[in-house]
């Protein structure tokens, strides 16, 4: 297998997304130390030049920036055509893609285009002694784990956000090259992306990427009490989520809903406040690293899946918790 790794870096709001930086760390690890295999990062779209510098200090060997506005809107077919062409040019063996919404869609398309194997949702990745890639991925909403062996010399791997550590900027800087737009071949009729509508999820980080998620349920009793959770999430730098009881009652828009018919989240810390722990809610958050439950009912099923439980009145516990976190963080 070629030990040349290509990492696709996605740009949002003028900066590389964190999940892409995490992918750079994985790329370095599977390519081997600098000098053995090469890690090339590729950025597409008008913002690629300014984002390249951040990427260049994260342990890569080379950064390619394709500053063509045709890549600004995401069309999987256009991205796949460009990245497959660059992968051929640099004779890559593995392409790593961050598992954002765009990235998840890109993996299958790119693998078909580049005639490669594909694995999505990778939460752990290792190299066997003979260089075979072994991926671990949660399946069945995190209720089971699958180990997948890659049996082809080319592979496209989609990495789960928050599963790997992003490398810190190092002193050394890789070279940044402006790369011309590759030949995209004949493209099919495309859609027109007419605009972006921000979700009403407040000012914090996005729910599916946040490292901390504070979710509220029917126990909150009304939309006005979400202020308590906003204070807590604010102190933790986290995002707000909700149970379906909350979104169905219109206390929060549907974009806040965590669970089977809502969003799946896997933050480092998930705090469930006034949520009973119905299975349809739990499948959306069970792969969180640490789960805290605050509920007045000692028999609430949420305590079976939580790591830490506080039985009590959320209207007393949550403000105390917010105050304690502010105190230890010195703010």
């Amino acid at each position: 297998m070629s030990s040349s790794v290509l990492v696709v870096v996605e740009i949002r709001n003028g900066a590389p997304v964190r999940a892409s930086l995490e992918a750079l760390g994985v790329g370095r690890r599977i390519a081997g130390p600098p000098g053995s295999g090469t890690v090339t990062a590729v950025l597409l779209g008008s913002g690629s030049e300014s984002s390249s510098t951040t990427v260049a200090e994260r342990g890569v060997d080379k950064v390619l920036s394709v500053a063509d506005p045709r890549f600004d809107a995401f069309h999987a077919v256009v991205w796949a055509a460009a990245i497959a062409a660059i992968a051929r040019e640099i004779d890559a063996g593995t392409i790593l893609v961050a598992g954002t919404s765009n990235g998840r869609e890109l993996v299958g398309r790119l693998a078909a285009r580049w005639e490669a194997a594909a694995v999505n949702g990778v939460a752990d990745l290792s190299l066997a002694a003979d260089g075979t890639l072994m991926a671990v991925r949660p399946v069945f909403s995190g209720r089971a784990l699958q180990e997948v062996r890659v049996d082809q010399t080319r592979a496209v791997l989609g990495l789960r956000p928050n599963a790997f550590t992003a490398p810190e900027p190092s002193g050394s800087k890789a070279s940044v090259e402006a790369h011309p737009t590759p030949d995209l071949g004949q493209l099919p009729a495309l859609g027109v992306v007419s605009g972006f509508e921000p979700a009403q999820t407040g000012s914090g980080p996005d729910l599916s990427e946040a490292l901390v998620v504070v979710s509220g349920g029917r126990g909150l009793r009304g939309p006005e009490n979400f202020r308590l959770l906003e204070d807590l999430a604010g102190a933790l730098g986290g995002a707000i989520g909700a149970s379906r009881a909350v979104t169905d009652s219109g206390w929060k828009p549907a974009s806040f809903q965590v669970g089977q018919t809502g969003r799946t989240v896997s933050p480092q810390l998930y705090i469930a406040v006034g949520i009973s722990g119905a299975i349809q809610h739990v499948v959306g958050m069970i792969s969180s690293r640490t789960i805290v439950a605050i509920n007045s009912d000692p028999n609430a099923p949420i305590f079976k899946v939580a790591d830490y439980g506080v039985v009590g009145d959320l209207f007393q516990i949550v403000p105390a918790l917010t105050a304690e976190i502010r105190r230890v963080r010195g703010s």
């Binding site: 991925r137 784990l145 890659v150 810390l269 506080v310």
Partner: protein, 264 residues
């Protein structure tokens, strides 16, 4: 308008998951296979389109082993799909999502279509590879994960939202097109008994494995599942004992910092 909807039989979400004896896969003994999740949404969306655009036909297509794949197609027919194609996967033939996409491409190429609807991922392996890979093989555009699908009267152009981090992109796209659905209806339709009976009499078209193999070549799948295991069981929460809310908060924060190490 010709609509294709791709579906996959998956274990009932209530299934108690167990690895098989070798630890290489799910033990499927006694598993009930159902149409669920985003696949169920794709069928619902196809049927809504059929009802809205006169002269539309919906064909359900599924790749997998007998008998569960035919059964899932029967449930799609009972819900109101007009025709069904079973793409055969002989027992013990190894496959992976990219191969499933290739096999389904063979079936799609045998029938005219304007719009292909697929779930953005299946509820079992959650790979999310089939729709985009199929679109690439067919040489047409795909968009996902999609919610809120709208259409013009002729069914030539669709507008929808792609759910992305922080919001959604509004997209308008012409046919032919693959749409990977994330839409979830809280109450998709259920089949009426008389339609369940009627569905049993509809002939299901079959694409044989020989036809598939001729279309995709004989190369082995690019990936193999080598292990299937359950995560360590959650043993129940460590309960915080306290006299005052402040004490509860202090104890919890200490545990989060020193034991769980999730707070700086």
């Amino acid at each position: 308008m010709e609509l294709l909807v791709l579906i996959k039989p998956v274990p009932d979400p209530e299934t108690r998951l167990r690895p098989n004896a070798a630890g290489t896969n799910l033990d499927t003994d006694g598993v009930k296979w159902v149409l669920t999740g985003y696949d169920e949404s794709a069928v619902e969306q196809a049927l809504l389109l059929k009802e809205a655009i006169p002269g539309s036909k919906v064909r359900a297509i599924a790749f997998g082993p007998a008998p569960r794949t035919e059964e899932i197609l029967r449930s799609a027919l009972a819900l109101g799909c007009d025709a069904a194609t079973w793409v055969e996967q002989p027992a013990d033939t190894p496959t992976d999502p990219m191969r499933a996409a290739a096999a389904l491409t063979v079936a799609c190429q045998k029938t005219p279509f304007d719009l292909i609807l697929v779930g953005k991922q299946a509820l079992d392996d959650e790979a999310g590879l089939v729709g985009p890979a199929l679109a690439e093989r067919l040489g047409i555009a795909d968009y996902g994960p999609v919610v809120d699908v709208r259409w013009d009267a002729a069914g030539r152009r669709f507008t929808f939202a792609r759910a992305v981090e922080g919001g959604s992109d509004r997209v308008s796209a012409p046919t032919p097109l693959v749409v990977c659905l994330q839409q979830a209806w809280n109450d998709p339709r259920t089949a009426k008994l008389q339609n369940v009976l009627k569905a049993r009499r509809i002939a299901i078209d079959k694409v044989t494995w020989a036809e598939v193999a001729a279309g995709i070549g004989s190369a082995a799948p690019g990936t193999h599942v080598t292990a299937f295991r359950l995560p360590p069981p959650r043993t129940g929460a460590k309960m915080i004992e306290y006299r005052t809310p402040d004490e509860a908060a202090q104890k919890l924060v200490r545990l989060l910092r020193e034991e769980a190490k999730v707070l700086p």
